[in-house]
């Protein structure tokens, strides 16, 4: 379980995340919804252990992350995958991109051996790489150059890249905001596949319909922390907080 307890983070004087608590269990999809600029990205970067919060604690399966030594924190960080709004693929083949997470987890001797093998022209992608690309429907693009992919394909490769090393948790920051409906659908199917594999998924999105489609639970982030966190159906049908209700019905416009 990823547990954020009373986490706050600010950039300079601007308080971006204020006193936020959230638990994410394995095998569930949690959507974080809210308008742009409300701190969703900062929250996800805190969960990805990129950012140390100014206050509060982040714990992964009981281990307080920022109390741990740096190498322990790396090991904890490596159990979390993150997909960004932009695909940001490396300028290399699709296979090399998806392999990356596996490669950095190998020791240097193995990495150098593999580098030499690939220079000699014999590349043999790991089963996990093919499997991850299968999940996003791009198993046939293995040898293609990343820069020749369409935007939707690139984002799906970016998802596969985070899935390949079998993280315990997967954080998606507006993963489909630049995509067409078809590619959005394929990413959402991949989210379900990840959940079925026991991965805890967090999706930050400003698209309420997407949250309704994919999430088991929803957290509504409106400026100063969550107004409400609960089961998707209840949040959308019967929000207990007045501001949540207004936001969901579209009355609260940012």
């Amino acid at each position: 379980m990823i547990r954020l307890s009373n986490v706050s983070h600010s950039y300079g004087v601007e308080q971006v995340v204020d006193d936020v608590s959230l638990d994410v269990e394995p095998g569930e999809v949690v959507a974080v919804i809210g308008p742009s600029g409300v701190g969703k990205t900062t929250l996800l970067r805190t969960m990805a252990l990129f950012l140390e919060p100014d206050a509060g604690t982040v714990a992964l399966d009981g281990d307080a992350v920022w109390d741990a030594a740096e190498d322990e924190r790396l090991a904890l960080r490596r159990r979390i995958g993150m997909v960004f709004q932009e695909a940001s693929l490396f300028d290399a083949s699709v296979a090399r991109n998806v392999e990356y997470g596996l490669r950095v987890r190998q020791d240097w001797r193995e990495r150098i051996r593999e580098q030499l093998r690939s220079l000699a022209g014999s590349t043999n992608p790991a089963a996990a790489v093919e499997d991850a690309l299968e999940v996003v429907g791009l198993a046939d693009k293995l040898d293609q150059q990343a820069r020749s992919l369409s935007g939707g394909e690139a984002q799906r490769v970016s998802f596969a890249r985070a899935l390949a090393y079998e993280p315990s948790y997967l954080l998606l920051d507006e993963p489909t905001s630049d995509l067409d409906p078809r590619n959005t659908g394929l990413i959402e199917e991949a989210v379900f596949e990840a959940r079925d594999r026991g991965i805890g998924v967090v999706v930050a999105t400003h698209d309420m319909h997407q949250a309704e489609r994919v999430a088991d639970r929803v957290g509504v982030l409106l400026g100063d922390g969550f107004t409400e966190v609960g089961p998707t159906e209840r949040i959308f049908d019967d929000p207990s907080d007045e501001r949540t209700r207004k936001f969901i019905s579209g009355e609260l416009v940012y």
Binding site: R78, L89, F90, Y165
Partner: protein, 236 residues
């Protein structure tokens, strides 16, 4: 002088046996080692300057930019003083050696390699760095990703440094002395210093031939580096 008249010279070979290969060897030896050392120093500087903020960064930048336009004869003079008997490196007895030439070429090649690498490194999308980190990369992994992403710019930097080093006359003449041994084999004579010697003695044909050899080497090295960049892109 018409080019055709230079061609038979290649066949006749007016030079003593082994002379031309030996000056080519000295040219390449000095330039390749100097540029390799420069690259090893430049890349970490480029990475640190590209990734971090520190006080005096702007000053370091302007020092590097000034270094790009630094006159080579002045560098040669300074290295000459440094390695001369009274200089701080005098005890190493480096005066008129290839090592002294490497030092001066290193000083000349490092600023352009650093400046061009830095431009390439800062050009790498920050999101790509984030992605490498998010996928479990350590600081070293992220740095390697950045170098790979910037590889064309870095190759350009190395080429620019190599071009400056191998075509440089002033400083290698001062610190190397343009010496051949008694049997006519080059000790510290490079293609460039040999050319200026031939030209000064009025042997323009042979000077042209040596010039052609120098141009060929520069073109070959360019081709090899570009080719390496391309295969690297395919295999990565």
């Amino acid at each position: 002088m018409p080019i055709e008249s230079a061609v038979p010279l290649l066949l006749d070979n007016p030079f003593q046996r082994g002379y031309v290969p030996s000056i080519v060897y000295v040219s390449l030896y000095v330039s390749v080692i100097a540029v390799t050392l420069s690259t090893l120093v430049s890349l970490p500087i480029g990475l640190v300057m590209g990734f971090t903020q520190f006080p005096g960064k702007q000053f370091v930048k302007s020092v590097i930019n000034t270094g790009m336009g630094f006159p080579s004869v002045v560098v040669g003079l300074m290295v000459l003083f440094a390695v001369s008997n009274q200089g701080p490196l005098g005890a190493l007895d480096l005066i008129f050696t290839k090592q002294a030439m490497i030092i001066s070429q290193f000083v000349l090649a490092t600023p352009p390699i650093t400046a061009i690498s830095l431009a390439a490194i800062t050009g790498v999308d920050e999101n790509v760095r984030d992605a490498a980190r998010a996928l479990g990369g350590t600081r070293l992994d992220v740095a390697l990703v950045v170098i790979k992403e910037a590889r064309y710019g870095i190759a350009t930097a190395v080429l620019a440094g190599f071009g400056r080093a191998i075509s440089e006359v002033g400083s290698v003449l001062i610190v190397g002395g343009n010496i051949t041994s008694a049997d006519g084999i080059s000790k510290t004579r490079t293609l460039t210093t040999a050319i200026q010697l031939e030209a000064r003695q009025g042997r323009y044909e042979t000077a042209m031939v040596l010039g052609a050899v120098l141009v060929t080497i520069v073109l070959l090295v360019n081709a090899i580096v570009v080719r390496l960049g391309e295969t690297g892109a395919m295999n990565r």
